[in-house]
Symmetry: D2
Subunit: 347 residues, 4 copies
């Protein structure tokens, strides 16, 4: 089969032939239809410090995908839940299931997590074998959307964790694809006011398309002052911090109302100076660090939104390439004028 592989340390990836992966007793083999290209894939392409410290080439890249079940391992078809021909996606974090986090609803924090496309072969290929426990049926959701349920799930986790969204006011800092998805999730979940901020006008337009009531350009506008003005002086109930920048953290703490919440998904590459007294303690704030997706509450919530038509993430998809053009896909992401980029593998 054709696959995008990190063959050796260094910049770039190769499109090569690899054998179809073996199917374990509780695995399903999936023919990939669509796959999503993520910022993580860019790090792997660039072979930055994180990537070179984590990946052991050769490894097939890609962790966002959807496709069709073409084979079931001998113990994977129990109860008839899954059948050949089912269109499915999958949680790309493969966890142990037996540690304390896994046994207390925190599988997304399992220390034995293996991520497809990073720690084992991934989805930028014609076929992928996945443990059946990680597979989710699409039940009518198109594979193009199924292919991006990993990052949409990040947005669902960030938007819904810990507070009651219906009727709330929210600010999304950073309008990359996950930030734009978060705007759509917040609207679907009944938020009354959804604000969004990004330096990039293209991304602000995507956020507006996804339902943001107002967007801000931090280069020319005082985001915190505008948030306060639009919330009767209070600040927002919830900040979804997607930028990963110290400046975003400062805005998040200042824009949240007393007693409010800041859910942090954007991964910073450096430290942030925090005035805990002024910004957290006296304000009674709650901060929460978002990793992955809750298994599988996040997936159930997301599936409901997508099936009911409350959330349509497709406006965020701006580019589509065949598998062989992975270099072009990486290039448009680097250029900064893209939303979500999709690989069309088969259909």
């Amino acid at each position: 089969m054709r696959a995008v592989v990190k063959s050796a340390p260094g910049i770039g990836m190769d499109v090569v032939d690899r054998p179809i992966p073996p199917v374990g007793s509780r695995d399903v083999l999936i023919k990939v239809h669509h796959a999503g290209v993520c910022g993580t894939d860019l790090h792997i392409w660039e072979w930055d410090a994180w990537a070179s410290g984590r990946l052991c080439p050769p490894v097939t890249i890609g962790h966002e995908f959807a496709g069709e079940i073409v084979e079931l391992g001998p113990e994977a078809g129990h109860e008839g839940l899954f059948r050949v021909g089912d269109l499915v996606t999958a949680e790309g974090h493969i966890v142990c299931g037996d540690c304390v986090p896994c046994r207390t609803g925190n599988s997304h924090l399992c220390v034995r997590t293996k991520i497809i496309g990073v720690d084992r072969d991934g989805a930028f290929a014609e076929f992928i074998a996945m443990p059946v426990s990680n597979v989710m049926k699409l039940n009518g959701i198109p594979t193009e959307i199924g292919a991006i349920m990993d990052p949409v799930g990040n947005a669902v986790h960030t938007a819904l964790e810990g507070g009651s969204v219906p009727g709330c006011t929210a600010l999304v800092l950073g309008c990359g694809p996950i930030g734009c998805f978060a705007v759509g999730v917040l609207r679907a979940a009944g938020a009354s006011l959804v604000l969004a901020s990004d330096f990039n006008a293209f991304r602000r337009d995507l956020a507006t398309t996804m339902g943001a009531h107002h967007t801000f350009d931090p280069a020319s506008q005082n985001v915190v002052a505008l948030v306060r003005e639009l919330t009767g002086g209070q600040g927002v109930d919830l900040v979804c911090e997607m930028s990963g920048h110290p400046a975003g953290h400062a805005q998040a703490f200042a824009a949240a109302r007393p007693g409010g919440r800041v859910n942090l998904l954007g991964t910073p590459s450096r430290t942030t100076e925090v005035d805990f007294a002024r910004d957290v303690i006296f304000k009674g704030l709650t901060l929460y660090g978002v990793t992955g997706r809750r298994m599988y509450r996040t997936w159930i919530e997301m599936t409901q939104f997508l099936r009911a038509g409350q959330l349509d993430p497709r406006p965020v998809i701006t580019h589509r390439f065949p598998l062989e053009q992975i270099a072009d896909a990486i290039a448009v992401i680097k250029a900064g004028q893209a939303g979500k980029v999709i690989l069309e593998v088969a259909s």
Copy 2:
């Protein structure tokens, strides 16, 4: 001033002149614009067992209203939160503030609660004096809507209590005004599937107008079977029981999914046989009894929905009468072909 008064034990009410009420040091005097007629008012009109055991005539009737502040008691204007001319509504349950329920977020269960229009003079009058602690500013919500925020608040309390509504599936049993409001609240709060049931076709149509995806007639349809069919065999996440009938309870328990929730607002006039083993314990259900509105979380949530235009309860309003025609208002409610009935007092 003109007022609708229960002058003495027995059926009916009188429209009479009464003095404008005195304004306590922490009270505001409100000129009533609109008032809502409630099933409770019907019980008082009919002078049933509950009414005759609770009311001490003469008492001015009415607990749902909105209007304009025309006077502030000397300690009611603190911090400039309220001013003469403000359009407001009010929580009609006046609580002690110092008991254990009041001090732990359960004021709606205060045993010293005095309800306006029941335990003290109410709002079917040109003026009413209210403790400032109970008053809520409308800030742009029309007084016609403000007048029904008491029952809309019942619906908000029932729909939002204890579970996460975004993406959920819900069934509303009983499509009187509060049931219809609950349909609208569930849609505003991001429910993915809202089902509703009532014997009365007029009410089912109102539920559809408010956003129900499907409505059922229990006289001719198997509600539980249809709910299961529409939820992949699971049952719904949440049942809002608004009927107060034993048959509604049975449907509620059967239609909820394992691990689901039944919030009960409809007040039964008799007991229900419950099979706790089959219907509650083996299903892992949670049941919750809804009284009034959470003070004031429910009001804040409702205000957000109304101001953002996510919820418009006005389609449920089917009749409007001047204060003097209280008898006509009661008559249309008794006839069963009404949604919410409003008294237009002033404007």
Copy 3:
């Protein structure tokens, strides 16, 4: 190996030789040290309506046990979490892992649940094979305690679900073994006042031994009046209903404070008349039906209590028999003068 088997429909059980069970790829084989006899086993002995409708003889009985791992299936030793020689117990509900309840933290409500000793061979035997996903290490907890972690877990689930126990007031209705365990759990969890009620003086004494501040005899005392007197007129924050009798339900609803909680574990054999208006709605009560143990939050909490010495369930163990004397074990339970009864299988 020796095993207690329901060989055929009808009263009684047989002690017979059966082959050591086969070990699946993700199973562990456990040499049973101790096993607990449950009320469920009594139903199976008596072959009542429930038992005859559910069991398919021949089946080895017993679902509460602890022992030593003597063999690991080829895929059961992953990551070295479990090794031969480990002392362990196990959750006896074997669930599918892939349905909506399983994927949303409600595995205890999985509709495909197979219970050991009921739906498949159980633990009243020298050896049992269990899926590794259900196995819990004892890490220093004696196997005698390990053998009763199933019913202690029922008590933990009932006592800790849905409210904050520290500082709370609680009433346990029914002082069978699980009721007595619940008393101990509530004390370990920091309840400020633990009350308990049972008709049986022997059981009331066990409840006192486990830490009940006061016990009541409903035959001669007004339980509700005494509860109110001891709680400043309020009623208790939490009722653990372990009796399964309609009279217990009535007491539960009356003894709970406004806004309080009733967690129901006792399985009624008939229906209960409920006055929802007076007892649930106007009181703002929450009712919750308890099935099994939360997987695996309940187990983690229980393990913490047992390892730290905060909870010692052994005073509830009143009788110990060898496996062959299952008939004697059943007889003392039927006589009503027993707490928990243990089978000593090996050591």
Copy 4:
């Protein structure tokens, strides 16, 4: 009456005669028996940047106290809840009651909060007038304990917020009086393992007296490594950060388990460098800033613990002085060899 007064800007306080305060219509006049000296009082004595920016001398100091009601305002005796002769303490944060935080269970974050002894006259005096809404009956709790329920309440808020304490593992960073109270609260609330850390051996001994299982000296011990060792490599479920130092923050984030919680009460005087990626996001941590006490859930929980004898904070009281010796009280606190210091005003 005698009172400790900050008469003018600068270091120190004066013991002077002042008139007995007037009693408002909803106030009670309380004869002070005992009062607690707080770190805040030290800041006021030293007239540091915070104090000089906030206080407007002359102001009577002191916000922790208990005493006897000697007079009721005309509207303060409603329903007979309070009577002359009642022994009481009071929440020292006087809030508006009508803002969004006050109306949604976040009164402790009311922006109009006036603190006694800071923003208005306080409790280091023979008498203090308090709004009846802030007054709490002692009902058998000694006034010496009543006088320190403000800081004990800080500890209750920090220990119980947001997680389930029964069976949990916890680390208290900083063993000043509130840290030592937190140790006692955690034990009362059923924590299975309570660890504590402080540079000061005197304070570590107090923490041990209050029930800490282990204490650490960060000057000579690797706190994080020891915490991991004692928790099976996981880290603790909950960190109560009472030190307010950047080093404490770093230890808190490192010592919390994945998915754990850090509640921050210690007020830092400078900023902290936070590695959000490593310490918060990838660990899935929740951080919460603790201000004051939840009104009045914290008070109810605390009262339960104190009345039931589950918590006795008196071992933390190391010094007692008459009101006139405020200078000596301040001196022992500055010397660092004190736990809680009490003023004996009357009895």
